[in-house]
């Protein structure tokens, strides 16, 4: 079980969190302006790196906030966690 640093509550056990997929996948402000290929990319295409991965977590059984985590998918080491809207470190 990972120990996940919630940017609001601090380190908490993974069992309190829900995974939210890759971070920084931007939903266009006006989806009507995005072409089909762009929307397909937005819907279905995700990175699956062996190494650093920016991903969303929600402290579902805690403060309830969504936030982002930079985690190495190979070592599971978490390098940073940051709030929604903050830039990727």
């Amino acid at each position: 079980m990972l120990l996940i640093p919630c940017p609001y509550c601090g380190n908490r056990p993974e069992i309190e969190f829900a995974y939210g997929g890759e971070a920084h996948v931007v939903r266009a402000a006006d989806p009507g302006q995005v072409d089909d290929a762009g929307w397909t990319e937005f819907l279905y295409c995700r990175n699956n790196p062996r190494g650093d991965h920016a991903e969303r977590w929600r402290h579902a059984y805690g403060c309830g906030r969504f936030f982002n985590v930079k985690r190495n998918t190979y070592t599971d080491h978490i390098e940073a966690s940051y709030r929604i809207g903050e830039t990727r470190p």
């Binding site: 609001y8 403060c63 309830g64």
Partner: protein
Amino acid sequence: MANLVHMVAPARRVPPCADTGDRRYTPVNGGARFLLRLREAAIGPAAEALGIDLAVPLNRASVVNSRGAMRLSPDEWLLLWPETEAASVAPLLAARLTDRRYSLTDISHRQTGLMLNGAAVPDILNSGCALDFDLAAFPVGMVTRTNFFKAEAVLWRQDEFSFYLEVWRSFVPYVWSLLSIVGREYPE
């Protein structure tokens, strides 16, 4: 057809807690609960309206008389209020926060409280809660949402060995049974 309105004296029936015989656990029935959601700017005015400090740090409780405000999220407070004063909460806030940029929801019946007292309570909680109950990590006055086995719970440390636990009403029998089983490992 006769008007039946007054035929019924509505009885408030809380979820059943089987008698465990364990004196460390007490159901806390009744009481009023609200979830209050506020933008940063409204914290001060709301606190004034309710007469309770809301600017406490995240995961800390603020207590005045028999009212409590638990800050569960940067913008979320669980208000534990005496039932007799519950009716005034909404009007007090509405009068003060006239732009209506807040949310107050009555959840008095959504969840039920359990009081846990005893030196073994941190160990008992650690059967199903992965938090660290060392006083340095979970000090007196801390309150947080977490999980107890497969139930969502709000856990408030009132004293080194006194915890107040709130769970949703349909999870009460489940949580109560587990407390009872785990309690046997840690005799009173």
